[in-house]
């Protein structure tokens, strides 16, 4: 009899750890939502949910590119600076070239092009000259930020055509455009990572670069492309963000790289490469975004917020370790 009780207890404990292990982040997210709903009557309002997805969209889009990069065992520290650089480039093009629809096209192309170029340069240095991604993207980060300041003389670019604001502030069927953009990017990324050759190669290169090469994968080209993707998505976020602010801010996106890396890692992607998922990244980005929103909603002191954020990141990563050990 006694033994039976012990066995059931053992079983329930084991199933609980398994539950935590397999759906840890989803559960953490759920707990978080329930907690904040208890403490703030405004948390679950339609308008706040729109607010959350709107806020999360910026970092979540960058996190997609970062997921690709981290899956190859790399890192991209330049994304925050690229948000600023692409934002100021796009907004300045918007002001200087022609009338609205054409100007918007050119501005988008310019902004995305800068992101792609920065990613390409990072990729070339990493693959051709064999320099670690950390150093290369650190350099690209300061260079990009520097150029953003030089280009604008440290001042924001403002007084933009009012139509531009639609990109960041407009809604289609009640859903904000940045939120739609985020859903679109995640959809594409999911297909690319899970259903295409390139996606498979990304996992393989991160899992074991030399084995991937000897399996006939052009590892350099895979690595080059993930940095281009990361740069382009950072630029897309930069353009959406500057539309929301109706200005190009050279000081935008400061420390975004850390938020984004945290989202990716909390989402279960290993910094050593080869393991992770795009859905995990989405949940990670939501977890962190909702945390920031909820703590502001219940008016938690901002010093305390920093500590809470750090603790949550540690807990999430610990959960992930638990998963690997089993």
């Amino acid at each position: 009899m006694q033994r039976e009780v012990a066995a059931t207890r053992d079983f329930s404990r084991r199933s609980l750890t398994r539950l935590l292990r397999d759906y840890g982040i989803a559960i953490a997210l759920l707990v978080e939502i329930i907690l904040f709903a208890q403490f703030s009557p405004y948390f679950l309002t339609a308008e706040n949910l729109v607010n959350i997805t709107l806020q999360v969209s910026i970092t979540a889009i960058i996190a997609v590119g970062m997921t690709f990069v981290i899956l190859t065992a790399g890192i991209d520290l330049s994304v925050g600076a690229l948000v600023a650089l692409s934002g100021v480039i796009a907004t300045s093009f918007l002001k200087s070239v022609g009338s609205f629809p054409v100007a918007l096209m050119i501005a988008m192309l310019g902004g995305l092009g800068v992101g792609a170029l920065a990613g390409f340069i990072a990729g070339v240095f990493i693959t051709r000259f064999n320099i670690t991604p950390f150093i290369v993207t650190l350099a690209i980060m300061t260079i990009s930020r520097g150029i953003a300041f030089m280009y604008t003389d440290g001042r924001p670019i403002w007084d933009l055509p009012p139509e531009f604001a639609f990109l960041g502030s407009g809604r289609v069927a009640g859903i904000p455009i940045p939120t739609l953009a985020m859903m679109f990017v995640y959809g594409i990324a999911y297909v690319v990572l899970n259903q295409t050759r390139f996606g498979r190669y990304v996992y393989a290169v991160g899992g074991n670069k030399e084995a991937a090469r000897l399996s006939g994968i052009n590892t350099n080209s895979v690595i080059l492309w993930v940095y281009v993707i990361s740069g382009v998505l950072a630029a897309l976020s930069g353009i959406l963000l500057s539309s929301r602010m109706n200005s190009g801010q050279p000081n935008a996106g400061v420390m975004y790289e850390l938020d984004v890396i945290a989202a990716v890692v909390v989402g279960g992607t290993s910094l050593f490469g080869g393991r992770g998922s795009i859905i995990g990244t989405f949940l990670g980005a939501m977890l962190i975004g909702i945390l920031r929103n909820g703590l502001n909603l219940v008016n938690v002191n901002s010093y305390v917020q920093m500590v809470v954020l750090g603790v949550v990141i540690l807990l999430a990563v610990m959960l992930d370790q638990l998963k690997k050990r089993s």
Partner: protein, 502 residues
Amino acid sequence: MSPLLHMHSIRKQYPGVLALSDVNFELRSGEVHCLLGENGAGKSTLMKILSGALKKDGGSILVEGKEVAITSPHDAQALGIGMIYQDFKLVPDLTVAENILLGREPQKGNSPFIDYKRMRETARETLSLLGEEIPVMARVRKLSVAQRQLVEIAKALSNKARILAMDEPSAALTEKELKNLFAVIRRLKTEGVGIIYVSHRLEEIFEIGDRITILRDGNVVHSCAVSEVDRRSLVRWMVGRELEHEYPKTNLQRGEEILRVENLCAGMLRGIHLTLYRSEILGLAGLVGAGRSELARVLFGADPFQSGKIFLEGKEIQPRSPREAIDLGIGLLTEDRNQYGLIMHMSVRENVTLSNLRDVMNGWVLNRVQENRVVRKYAGELRIKTPTVEQDVENLSGGNRQKVVLARWLFTRSKLLIFDEPTSGIDVGVKYEIYQLINQLAKDGLGVIVISSDLPELLGISDRIAVMHEGTLKEIFSRAEATQEKVMTLATGGIAEVESAA
């Protein structure tokens, strides 16, 4: 008197494999105890448990009669257990003296500064104990393999090691260096050090060993004094059956030429000439570092070549990347498949199709249904033991991992397959299956090159044997001509005695 070391009922379980079951091992002071067994028999696992690198799942370890807990390499060192691994654990850019006293640097009084003078003296004393002249201020990077080995031994001794375990110490040594190593071992014996000598080279065991313990499939099959056994029974205990049945061989009529290498020079390789035919298995013999793997990598496009010509089915080729070689129909099963062959935490399915995703595509996207069908087909044909094809390959045993790599190259429709050490780390039973598969490939009309350091294996499965030494190809023997002695003489730099002058 209790023995220096007693490992009692040691058990170790890996996922899917019982690596050690109730293994007993005893070492006395001043003896050389040889630990024998094929690859995968459990020798390395036992040594790793002794050195604290692995945790045992059962049993106890007694040092001088007292039970001890070894949970880390540090514990083992503190108990006077020294390990000399095949791939030395030395820091190449530190000096000999710094390496010998790494982690135990003498200090100037109580200051945090290292007393280099004392360090040099201690290192010199320890080395002289071995009767060796190695400059203590030289960087380890500049030393020969034999010298590095002695530095490792000195390092263990300076740490007051009473138990010294050597894992395949002779693997990369020349005849002369080996003699020297034996002299050192004899000297250590007189000092009362107990030595565990792990090897599968029988000659050495009869020369240096006092006792032997033979492991097979994680069990002790025999343990006795060296004087009580002969070579033949040793082999029988090791492989578990008579040698004749070890290698299945079907004689095939060789087909057209598939590969021709003319005067190839690349890196260390000098003037290689080679021809391979369809339905033929060509063995590549030689010592570690003779250039066999290097040749394989060049043919596979993984390394460039400087001059010479390569013809595949009569057409000249210049593979500049593995991708190009694969597209031409060449496949390479690398020596260290965990490191260079497989993506360990990808599934069997993903590993099999990795080199030929093209054939399971539906436009831009992968066709999962077709991919699954393909992989299940190969898993069945090659008898890959796995619960599902979604299992990560890291949970598979060595033999099944090798089959996954083979499935990959079959799926790319290779015409020429190069196996580099195809059976290292693979259980005896599965080895036999691998040999059968290699035979089947030849029967299907592929050209096969096998690189192996296991000479009986190579002689057993090849149609012809090419012997390499220091980057050159010395000689190609037919199956009938080749003997262990002839091949070994050439491989170690000797000159073949031409017996059949006719």
